[in-house]
Symmetry: C2
């Protein structure tokens, strides 16, 4: 089985964005009382939004299940306040749940958290718990910079995050570290802000003892770990200079990279440098880069091809990357997949 | 000849930091009138600071000339105001000039600019001009984030930078894009802020037409181009999706990466992916990572070894990387090296 740990619902039916636009417009009116309201989307609209995109690509590329979450760039935690973020997150998460219910063999849910700048992350616990216990989600996306490019939140190793981490450990769900849109003109969202956040989070983990406090806490750093594998020597050297543990030991049970790196040489480096136990297959499809690479004739984000073609990687390690690590890092996926397999048999 | 395009005076005699500490302390007193004052350092102290460090490493590693600038992490443009920054920059630059005068065969100067948050970059032109025309410097370090991790300046492609760029073009000097210390607790300076700035600057260049306005403007993006070569496919794909020119064309005469990547696999990727015409040998020694790699028994930042050992790179391309590109990107180095060679002959 091939599990893609990184997919966002970038093709959601228009009604979702219409609701969001109205929500944002209403923020202009100070007398407006925020209300959750309703997003009207039919099952057919959901099917239509996926059949020609994520489902088609799954079939064409030969992947099985996508760990699926709301569109990352649209989380925009910097918009409005905590209530704005809560209502928006609930709608996005509910829609992911509908996707997973319609296509239980193809998608497993990961939730958006209702973060808001300056608001303690503990306010996100209720929505996390709802998504995991009621909607069957298996993880969350955690934004290390809810300000959208101003980086005003404390580092991920700060105790302010601890109550949320306690809930994650209790529920046995990991977080993908994933920023959203950038409202800082310095940072292109998918070209700079995303990659910078990955690199930033890694270095925060290297310099603190977070995983001594939370041995069971797990983070996926997407986009191939940002700049980290390319600069692995720098990070090994910095860790050594700072008398920190060796990187392999530091990340072993807690920090994982996906394979969202869109060329063969990048994937070759990742698979050569980072322990296979710490890599999860991911494509970010349909996401940041939508075109076909003229040098290969294949989609840039068809990362399965690069992993398939990576030389010097054992079949055992490829199996870890494609399936086993995802089952270990997102253990709740095993319940979900068992249930859907059982349902398939009984059909 | 082997030219190292990236060295900072990280080992400067203590009197420099003593002066700086006093300058910063004086900022606390609102009635204090800023004065340049004097930094008392003897030639012997300068020799001593280099003989056991940069000069020793040049000899041991077999490099010839280092393009040398003040310690990057100490620029700290966010401290004080524009006058604070000007006085500090002048002292730092004067000290680099003394180094280059004492060791004209080993060091060529690049200046720190007296940037200050919220102050137009045009205020740096006088110091740039002084360093180039009076001190014989061949380039400058340009900080894309003088706020030190809050990213409050406009992108490098904004017209606010244009007067400085006009001066750079007139003087025929390039800039290395180099941030300084981070005062944002999210960003470890050398592990995150430096690398993020490199990635950020590249994406700014990809998304704007800066080099149409300044065809002769040249930037070196240090630390191997941040995350860019590792994510080359992502950047090619983003450029294509945005209908921007192909990356090779976009950077050809204007954007260059150094080789400050501290492991063999990283250098192999860089040299495989980025056109050889756009790579300049650099080591950042003595800099971010000071230790010996236990996996190789050599210093992490001995990047010449990695370039020497990179397979599939022609002798012609290695010569470009080690020497020719530096002479093209920093053309004023040719005058300096000719002068010192002539002096050597006449000695």
């Amino acid at each position: 089985m091939i599990i893609d740990c990184h997919g966002h619902y970038t093709t959601a039916p228009k009604a979702l964005q219409v609701w969001r636009d109205a929500q944002i417009a209403a923020l202009e009116d100070p007398s407006h009382v925020a209300a959750r309201g309703i997003v009207r989307i039919t099952d057919d609209e959901i099917r239509e939004s996926l059949e020609g995109a994520q489902l088609k690509f799954q079939r064409e590329r030969g992947t099985d299940v996508t760990i699926f979450s709301p569109r990352a760039s649209a989380m925009a935690h910097h918009v409005g306040d905590a209530t704005t973020s809560l209502h928006w997150s609930q709608h996005c998460n509910d829609l992911i749940h509908r996707v997973c219910t319609l296509y239980p063999d193809n998608f497993v849910g990961v939730c958006q958290l209702p973060q808001s700048p300056g608001v303690p992350p503990s306010t996100c616990i209720d929505e996390l718990r709802r998504c995991v216990t009621e909607l069957g989600f298996i993880g969350c996306n955690l934004n290390p910079d809810p300000s959208g490019g101003h980086w005003t939140a404390p580092p991920l190793t700060d105790r302010q995050w601890y109550p949320l981490y306690e809930a994650m450990v209790e529920l046995d769900v990991p977080a993908m570290v994933h920023v959203s849109a950038s409202c800082n003109p310095n940072f292109h969202a998918t070209g700079a802000h995303y990659i910078n956040a990955d690199t930033t989070a890694f270095m925060q983990f290297v310099t603190a003892d977070l995983f001594k406090d939370f041995p069971a806490l797990r983070f996926i750093i997407p986009h191939g770990g940002g700049a980290v594998p390319y600069h692995w020597g720098r990070y090994r050297g910095l860790a050594q200079d700072m008398k920190r543990p060796p990187l392999g030991e530091l990340i072993r049970d807690n920090v994982f990279f996906d394979t969202c790196v869109y060329h063969q040489a990048g994937i070759d480096l990742l698979l050569k440098i980072v322990p296979a136990d710490n890599i999860l297959f991911g494509s970010e499809m349909v996401g940041a880069v939508r075109g076909v690479d003229p040098e290969t004739g294949h989609y840039f984000d068809d990362t399965k091809r690069y992993v398939d073609q990576a030389s010097g990687v054992s079949a055992e390690n490829k199996r870890k990357i494609f399936e086993d690590n995802a089952r270990r890092v997102y253990p709740r996926i095993n319940r979900t997949l068992t249930v859907t397999a059982a349902a398939r048999v009984s059909r």
